[in-house]
């Protein structure tokens, strides 16, 4: 089965973000989305550690340890940026002021439940960070992920078996094989990549998928 690369998935997500949107890109792969935002529009990137108007990575030698993103990587601030403290930053999120957040996932259920913070393994060191706040706070939660886990199992599932991050919070999933919307009737295929077909995806996920033509 051919699909698209992680960079292409990031590009696809970037293309769906409208001018003027307030967006939080989660730690890890979702940060790639920033590289593909068009230059001719203005997207406001929020990082939960207290900055709105986050810019690109700094040049070597211009790294500022006080200016980092949620993944603790050095970033820059655009003209027009603003700093604020943690309670204000999460109020922004919880209060529904962010249009979109993009998160990674271990599993997404057909009801939009998200599991992305813990595998539940007994020896794992747990860490949740801002994932639950983002999942419950942003107007739209997009997931960016491979369709299949390394084990080959589908990350799209009937019900999550990993510990939940949020209940019914995901609206859309961008994968290397296809893009899915979460609907009241389960997952709906929104876009297909490479030689994927709905039948192929149903086989890979073991799920019945909705489909009414590509968007």
């Amino acid at each position: 089965m051919t699909g698209i690369s992680r960079e292409e998935v990031a590009q696809r997500i970037a293309a769906d973000i409208p001018d003027g949107a307030y967006v939080n890109l989660g730690i890890g792969a979702p940060t790639l989305v920033a590289n593909y935002l068009p230059d001719d529009i203005e997207i406001f990137l929020h990082t939960e550690n207290g900055l709105l108007g986050m810019g690109a990575a700094p040049a070597l030698g211009r790294i500022d340890p006080d200016l980092i993103n949620a993944g603790k990587q050095p970033v820059t601030a655009l003209p027009g940026a603003a700093y604020f403290h943690h309670a204000d930053s999460f109020g922004m999120m919880r209060g529904g002021h962010l249009d979109i957040c993009v998160l990674g996932a271990f599993q997404i259920s057909q009801h939009g439940d998200l599991a992305n913070w813990s595998t539940g393994a007994p020896d794992a060191i747990p860490a949740v960070g801002g994932a639950m706040d983002l999942a419950s706070g942003a107007k739209e939660v997009f997931v960016m992920t491979d369709l299949l886990a390394k084990s080959g199992e589908s990350k799209l599932v009937t019900a999550c078996t990993y510990p939940l991050t949020g209940v019914g919070c995901v609206s859309r999933i961008y994968t290397d094989h296809a893009v899915f919307d979460v609907t009241p009737d389960g997952f709906r295929v929104r876009d297909l990549f490479g030689d994927n077909t709905v039948e192929v995806l149903e086989k890979l996920t073991g799920l019945h998928l909705q489909y009414s033509g590509l968007e």
């Binding site: 943690h86 439940d113 060191i125 747990p126 639950m132």
Partner: protein, 249 residues
């Protein structure tokens, strides 16, 4: 005359008792009050409960405090980092208790402590393990869990500049938990790069008013700032680098 400045970090952390709850500012290394933590290690208080977003990284600062076995319990959102080996080892060996709190609930609970809110209903974490056993209520059609304030005996935080009344300004994302922890502790101790004259901070731009601050100590400029100007030349940990290659010098 009110003068909250103290001469050195040892005096700044005087009186932290064994068994105290101590908030420690910072998000990763940004805003972590490393000099105050080192002084707390010297001071010797043990059996501490620490409230901090992370559980330390590398072998310095908060990680060193944990490494010395001074911490009984930690309340944080993100203990696991690529370099959190000190915490990881303690946790796996059963040597530290962990209360894991979603980051926004952690921030809001600290804010509630400082602002005198008895408890609040939060939509974050509903339906997850981290809400297990918590009171739940549906308000305006949305599920919420009841969260209680977090208060501390001491807060140790890092700011950029302060004055003798304890007014503070921060620097960039190193602000993070500083303002809410300052308000949430009985005794708030702040390390700043520089103590400035009263009136030198613009009253429109003061982020933490002095009412929340008890002690201020100057620890000198951060390496990447000279005379108030960003000069760079470091990596994200603050270590000097070769600006051509990025290699640590």
């Amino acid at each position: 005359m009110v003068d909250k400045t103290v001469a050195d970090v040892a005096r700044a952390v005087e009186g932290v008792p064994d068994g105290a709850t101590v908030m420690i500012g910072g998000f990763g290394r940004a805003g972590q009050p490393v000099e105050l933590i080192n002084a707390l290690i010297e001071q010797g208080a043990r059996d501490l409960t620490i409230v901090s977003n992370n559980a330390g990284n590398g072998d310095t600062g908060l990680a060193a405090l944990l490494g010395k076995g001074r911490v009984r319990r930690i309340v944080c959102s993100f203990p696991r980092q690529h370099d959190s080996w000190v915490f990881d080892g303690l946790y796996r060996a059963g040597g530290i208790e962990l209360e894991l709190v979603p980051q926004g609930n952690l921030a809001e609970r600290i804010r509630a402590g400082g602002a005198g809110i008895g408890a609040f209903f939060s939509p974050t974490g509903v339906g997850t393990q981290l809400a297990d056993g918590k009171e739940e209520r549906t308000i305006a059609g949305r599920r919420h869990v009841l969260e209680y304030p977090i208060k501390a005996d001491f807060a140790l935080i890092s700011a950029y500049r302060g004055d003798r009344w304890g007014n503070l300004v921060y620097r960039e994302t190193a602000r993070n938990f500083g303002p809410i922890m300052a308000a949430g502790a009985t005794t708030t101790v702040v390390q700043v790069d520089e103590i400035v004259d009263l009136g030198a901070l613009d009253p429109e731009s003061v982020v933490t008013p002095g009412i929340f601050v008890d002690r201020v100590v100057a620890v000198g400029s951060r390496r990447w700032v000279q005379d108030g100007e960003f000069v760079g030349g470091v990596d994200v940990e603050g270590e000097p680098v070769n600006v051509e290659t990025g290699a640590v010098r």
